[in-house]
Amino acid sequence: MVSTILIAICVPLLAFAIGLTFIMFKLKITARVQRRYGPPIIQPIYNLLKLLLKEDNISHGVIFSLGPIIALAGSILAVFFIPIPGLNLLTGSGDLIALLYIMAIGSLGMALGAGNTANPNASIGISRALTLMFGYDLPLVIIVISVILQYHTTNLADIVAAQANGHWTLWTLPLSAIVGFVVTYGALGEHPFDIITAPHEVATGPMVEYGGKHLGFLMINHMFHIYIEIALFVDLFLGGASNLFWFYIKMFGVFFIMMLCDEVFLRFKIDDAVRFFWKWPTVVALISLIIVLVK
């Protein structure tokens, strides 16, 4: 019983820490890509603490404040489903399909909170966020099914175990891996798909009215979200690590490459983004799915 409590505390903290380090590197990497010096490495910590210590916080109603809390709770729940070497808590009580649905709690919480602000930018931001989610969900589902079919199991821990000693899904299902990489861009709302929080058009979309500690909690939620998405990608395609160190190296590698080609693209219009997701990634994913079916 004690071990579960221990895991129950340190897994979210671990996830938060990893997510935090990624955002630190992200600021540095984007700065270096733009040939500028960039903020000090621990700038995100300053930002977070400054937000949390704001003297005056506004709220548009109970649901406005509950939104970030639900989102964070959902992300913490999802974190437990990712099999971390040695610290698996919930992987038994729900499988990959459950994880896909649990990740929806996060966006539901944020959408509810932002919706309550009655701000036009927020509503436009949410409708774009959900449309984008609908967009990238199709290829995501196809590649998840192709992985499930290949390993004949829906349990994430078994998938990781099946990829042990080297033959990762990346080598057996290269197409799905590529599509997974593109889809992670959409899921994280990274640059080509940051139509949701486009500062120029919808004033940071759903977060328009969020400030102070609410925004702080949303940033924490974003860190968890980055951790979950990248950990899922690593578990599905890069064989998840046997120990924590390798796990972090692989995740950082993926994140590094993502950040490199993040700044290069222009922003998609929302219906072009959905059309893009439903055209190329879906076709490629279907091809790899058929390959798995035939194999």
């Binding site: 733009q34 700038q43 704001k54 328009v208 400030g211 925004l215």
Partner: protein, 170 residues
Amino acid sequence: MEKMTQDQVRTIANMLRKRSLWMIHYCTGCGAMELPPTMTSRYDMSRLGLAPFVTSRQADILLITGYLNVKTLRRVITVYEQMLDPKYVIGFGSCALNGGVYWDSYAVIKQLDRYIPADLYIAGCMPRPEAIITAFQDLMDLIDSGKADGYKRYKRDLAYYKENQRKVLG
């Protein structure tokens, strides 16, 4: 003892606020052109922890980058009141100081801090990015020493500010 922790918290808080200043720049006059160079790789203000933000709720500093006429003052006041509390105002150039070249115009406001408490002015008819960077560093020192208390002054003598605003906006 309780008072002591109060000060400790405040100093830590000021130290943090100094290091991560998010600014919303109300580009009214010709000062807005000076900001892109300060943000991008030539002068790179983000190394000081500053970052441009879009909504008033998320911003700490309000930059008034030029002359404010009666119409834009009404919008600036709304934005200022929507910002969350430890907030600072920096007035760019001479137009915010005393109306600048438009001193005799029927529309332009002559003195910014009669309507909203300005913590810092940057002299010059549109200061260059170096001046802006030094201004930010001065603001950081002010915050650190706790003297940047524009928002406290606004709250303390709100009636005075409101009276002035009513006189101009009608």
